[in-house]
Symmetry: C2
Subunit: 761 residues, 2 copies
């Protein structure tokens, strides 16, 4: 705290404040110190509280990250105020002018409301009031939005989802200027704008509102937040529990092919209950969790402040706060979320929803000092009670690195529907997906994975086929290639059988099933393993995939060992791709390159792959090395000379250039019943284009081979170029920590307990 020395008076004030805040250790404010005094029906009460306002005003000028955020927000809002209010008649899809303008308005309204409270400057209140009145005048004249593509059209926007976004933010603005308005003004706004607005997105749009889906969460929060501000118990109830006495047809589907309301659940609590696993994994994946997070947390804050008796942050054993931890762990070294399901790459914990998540988690959780380092990277805080707490934490030097380790996150509301395992060692991260379908945004990608080095993709997951909010690309919405390519199994680093996607690419079937964890083991720092089984993707075929990241003294960097054990009652063609990124360096097998490129197939995603080369695999080990981001990589995979190796590139049957022209190497085997695919992926060395020196550009593996592969065990021997030999054995049946194993391989006995064995021979 800086002591102001301009006048004796201000010095004394400062001193007093210092004494007051020094009562808490290090001057921190925790939720206990504030919330107990702020439970009142005073406005603001929703996110920013009356007590919070007092505390913030007292600290202003002494809390750098808060002060900086405030200054930026002030500049932004002042610029908007200077440019004047614009409330255009709705016309465009996302990316178009009216969409962007109304979107901008909701942000500015919310910010102007905060500024009014924090800076106590009426110009902000007046601005909010004036704009709200323009909305009031417009809204009562509005029919449905003219664009017809949505399954639930809004009025300000082409979809109810965006109308809900608007109300979630604008409720906060209304709360902030509530006391500034006359009762007559409030009545006018509530009668002509807020109440009908809340009705349109709920009772008038049950197909949007009455379900368990991130869209509905926004709807619930919007209705609930305006309800809290208006003190309208009907709206609050509708928000928490859904529209009373309404049941929808359980078989109807939305635009994305998701069921509208399969089991009749609805409302905010159901939306917490259902999609979050006990570990806090959100069943649509991190990209959608990030999107849904804001309404979850902001409405939860409102409920916490106005209806503390609900104990919303303790609901389902504190799953909301757990979910923030899960979400942060679902990001790579740069903070970018892993693009599971329909995730757009580049979304990261720098997103403003994550500023909310981090600040809320810190304040309402247990003040995890690792969160402060992320907040510092985000370089801004919420302008509310939680942001103040974070700002003080940083100011008081409490931050610690947020240390991401290997983590297993169960999926399913009770944690029984598979999950996502993330293995981490040094700069290598592997994301292994054995989750449930992931709602309508799910991909047919059972037991798929992606691999990262220092936050850069080594083996990529394609992500989605969409350019969110870029109007030129299908209005910024899902492109048809999202279904024909991105969701298909062959677009993923997992097994495709007979050129057909998992569950024959049918959402109804996929939604019935999930993979199951076989084991997850991360106690040994040098050997991180995850193993899962999938029995339903291809009836009659079982896939057991065990993936490990192993740090081994004979290798420069941790490497990936991948054992995909496929057993089937029938003969099949198996395609097993590696979506490497970068430039081919070398192969140890011969291949031919066709003069003309043809699509690899006609459907299920194969129509989008060009065949750029095909060869016969080597007997024993096929090796393939590539170069990306000035680093070297080598795949060593066990093959036989009947296997084919196909070089493919995405982009066939893509007349609008919607797909990236990315490569893959596909291992194909025909007429196979049982087959265990065994591969090692090494990251090694580096290249500097400045010094032009290549370091460790070759694989350190001489050979990998199977020494045992039965129903019970798979054992792999890895021989280094220095002739060192390592043995990895995975238990294919009983993989509990307690299980005792005792097997003989080539006259030698191996005894161990637990799921796997790894040792130098």
């Amino acid at each position: 705290m800086k002591i102001n020395n301009n006048t004796i008076f201000s010095f004394i004030i400062s001193l007093l404040l210092f004494v007051i805040f020094s009562c808490k250790e290090d001057g921190d404010i925790t939720k206990e110190s504030i919330t107990e005094t702020t439970i009142s029906q005073e406005h603001p009460k929703l996110i920013l509280t009356a007590q919070g306002v007092k505390d913030i005003r007292a600290q202003l000028g002494t809390i750098p990250i808060f002060d900086k955020t405030l200054e930026l927000v002030k500049q932004e809002v002042d610029t908007e105020i200077a440019e004047g209010i614009e409330v255009p008649i709705p016309k465009d899809y996302s990316g178009g002018y009216t969409h962007s303008r109304h979107k901008q308005n909701w942000f500015i309204l919310q910010k102007a409301g905060l500024l009014y409270q924090i800076l106590d400057d009426e110009k902000y209140a007046k601005y909010v009031k004036d704009m709200l009145m323009e909305y009031e005048a417009l809204y009562k004249t509005l029919p449905l939005h003219p664009k017809t593509r949505s399954y639930a059209r809004g009025k300000l926007f082409w979809q109810c989802l965006n109308d809900s976004n608007w109300l979630v933010y604008v409720s906060q603005a209304y709360d902030c200027i509530y006391n500034y308005l006359t009762e007559e003004e409030r009545n006018r706004l509530e009668t002509n704008l807020f109440r009908p607005f809340a009705d349109h997105i709920s009772v008038d749009s049950p197909q949007f509102y009455q379900r368990v889906h991130n869209h509905s969460t926004w709807g619930n929060a919007a209705v609930g937040m305006i309800g809290l501000v208006m003190d309208d118990e009907e709206l609050i109830d509708r928000a928490l529990y859904g529209i009373k006495d309404l049941k929808l047809d359980a078989r109807e589907k939305d635009d994305d092919g998701g069921f509208l309301n399969k089991d009749g659940k609805a409302g905010f609590l159901a939306n917490i209950e259902d999609p979050f696993s006990p570990d806090g994994y959100y069943n649509e994946g991190p990209y959608y969790q990030r999107y849904a997070m804001y309404p979850f947390l902001v409405f939860a804050q409102g409920l916490h402040n106005v209806k503390p008796e609900l104990k919303i942050f303790e609901y389902k054993e504190g799953v909301l706060l757990k979910s923030i931890n899960a979400l942060l762990n679902l990001s790579d070294a740069n903070g970018d979320f892993f693009p599971l399901n329909d995730g757009q790459k580049g979304m990261s914990y720098y997103n403003s929803a994550l500023v909310t998540a981090v600040d809320v988690s810190y304040y309402y959780g247990n003040q995890n000092s690792g969160l402060l380092s992320i907040a510092k990277e985000q370089d801004r805080v919420l302008l509310d009670d939680s942001g103040l707490a974070v700002a003080l934490g940083i100011k008081n030097g409490k931050e610690q690195p947020f240390d991401k380790k290997s983590i297993n996150l169960s999926d399913g509301s009770d944690g029984s529907e598979g999950g996502v395992g993330i293995l981490r060692n040094e700069n290598i991260e592997l994301v292994f997906k054995y989750a449930s379908q992931g709602s309508s945004h799910g991909h047919y990608d059972k037991l798929s994975y992606s691999l990262y080095e220092e936050g850069e993709e080594v083996i990529q997951d394609y992500g989605l086929s969409r350019f969110v909010n870029i109007e030129q690309k299908g209005g910024g919405n899902y492109l048809k290639e999202n279904k024909t390519w991105a969701k298909q199994t062959i677009a993923h680093n997992t097994l495709t059988q007979n050129e057909t996607s998992h569950f024959t690419g049918k959402y109804d079937i996929g939604s019935l099933h999930h993979s199951d964890l076989h084991y997850f083991s991360s106690e040994n720092e040098n050997v991180q393993v995850v193993s899962a089984i999938e029995k339903n993707a291809y009836p009659g075929t079982t896939m057991l995939r065990t993936m490990a990241i192993i740090k081994d003294e004979d290798f420069e960097k941790p490497y990936v060992l991948d054992i995909m054990k496929v057993t089937s009652g029938s003969e099949n063609q198996y395609d097993f791709p590696f979506y490497y990124l970068g430039q081919v360096l070398q192969t140890n097998f011969e291949y031919n390159s066709p003069q003309t490129l043809k699509p690899l197939g006609v459907k299920n995603g194969y129509q989008h792959l060009f065949l750029e080369g095909s060869g016969k695999a080597s007997d024993q080990n096929s090796k393939f090395s590539w170069f990306n981001n000035n680093k070297f990589y080598t795949l060593t995979t066990m093959t036989n000379n009947k296997d084919d190796l196909l070089f493919t590139r995405i982009g066939a049957n893509d007349p609008e250039f919607n797909l990236r022209r990315d490569p893959a190497l596909i291992l194909r085997t025909k007429n196979s019943k049982n087959r265990t695919f065994i591969s090692v992926i090494e990251a090694h060395g580096s290249y500097s284009p400045v010094s032009e020196s290549a370091v460790n550009s070759n694989s350190s593996i001489k050979e990998i081979r199977t020494v045992l592969d039965t129903d019970n065990y798979s054992a792999i021997e890895i021989t280094g170029i220095n002739e060192s030999v390592k043995l990895f054995i995975t238990a294919n049946k009983d993989a509990s920590d307690e299980a005792q194993h005792n097997i003989e391989i080539k006259n030698k006995t191996y005894k161990w307990s637990g799921p796997y064995y790894f040792k130098k021979k």
Copy 2:
């Protein structure tokens, strides 16, 4: 200067030093203050001087960037000393073990020599001596290097070039420990190692040594530097003037197709005279200049110190120092050199040769404070007299930004052989090449250009097809696709006539010609223009290309206007490509996408292009927008409905995946005699994958059209979407600054003086 307060004694010493160095303004050391006292035959004398050693020792500990560099070098050398000396029998190509080891040795020897002088620690002298003795023992036993691919095989390395590298560095090491050795030891080294070494790369390898080429510069410098250390006038003469009385066959060529010695010139002075233009442009381009720079500057330093009477830094009106300025200007916003000719992307002014260049330029030039900011970014200095001067400059806070502006660099030893024009405005950089062939590393790319935004490629130049020092890719050497693709005209953003490269792709013909500057104009900050003409690439066809970067109030960012006026006596097919990088967003023309991809042609580079789509151009304006690095770009180009537009992708007939799969849009017109290609390229807006907001994603151009196109003038009207109209007129004939123009277009008269006219209508 930090005053050491441990003891009174050291305080007094410090005070004395302070007084001594304060005699020069701000404590700086300039070349005048040192060199006049150091011209002696004392060792060291070559780069580090005896006086320099004294000055450095006096300042150690008070010059942060120097101290830091010294510490890193010390750590590096100490590690090597601890690991022991390795001098293996030569065996490998570049990238292989023996190559890398000997290369590492030359660096360490040079550094250990410096450490001996600066730290006055005998362990470094002993290390240098011991390793030199091992080289002495090995060298006298060596036959030619076993690898046979070079036109001039070395003994330690597969090519004389690398042997020369070794000697350039090792001469410095020898100089540093000269006085540490006994006379007998010196005799042994000189007789068995240095003298025969110098002979091998010169008199025994005249095809390498006796020419004007960056290889020879290394050879000359190597011979000259060891000559300076040994005080051997014969070697020094051989270095400066070439091998006496030797003339080579002027028609012989080297591995790369370059003439070995077309005009009989040789020696270091000829190598300065010939390749550098008066502006300091090096005729092979910045990538090779960077490579050649080190021997130029380090030998020049040696000559300056030992033979000041030569006034080497004043040679050819100070071209060596001018060339450093030219080189720094040939880099993009990130400091990466533009990949003209066979340049590998990613090479930048962070390369160690540029540390030499910047420090030498600062010290021996006029202490340009802009160089200090680059030195600071480089974060290291030379451990010699010049590095000390830079360290002191930084310490004394003299640094200024190195401000890169538009610049025109003439090519040719007398500046008459075309050149390279770089236009810059805000974050947009355009590199326009109208130079001579560029020696054996030249491409057939007359009047080609590349375009950058914030150091990222917008319209790329492919660069070379080579992975320098990555052994898996053709031993790290030129790949055959360098000739079949990278050098060909169709690989560049310029005109290809009848699917044939400029000069029919023949080096002998290309070397006879160069383009000519028509005009370069950069006085008007908002309108930067370069214009050049090419008459020989296609006999009977003339190309006059005028390119401008215009900053215009109606546009967010500066845009490119490109007027390529082609006149021919015969009907031809013209292909005019745009090597955009990124994802197609939108076109205003229809096109078809083939199911199977076929090569666009059979030779001259066309065999490497797949045709991914083809359409008929729009009448008037064809528009194409794309998306890259989260920014938007739009091409608006004048077309008629007989023109074809082809979407191509590199990668056909590339069985070893040596080429990047990069796209282009090619405008093709058939049966044309005269055609003026007129295009505007706009960079606009941005996208954030974190906030998912797209800003200004659409073109600001409604229409471009030609209002006049004669032998004398081309006039283009650019109409914005806001209906603002701008007129650009370029003088196609008399474009001098003094020329008075007076023309009538549609009953309106335009009068101006100078090469172009630009105004809002």
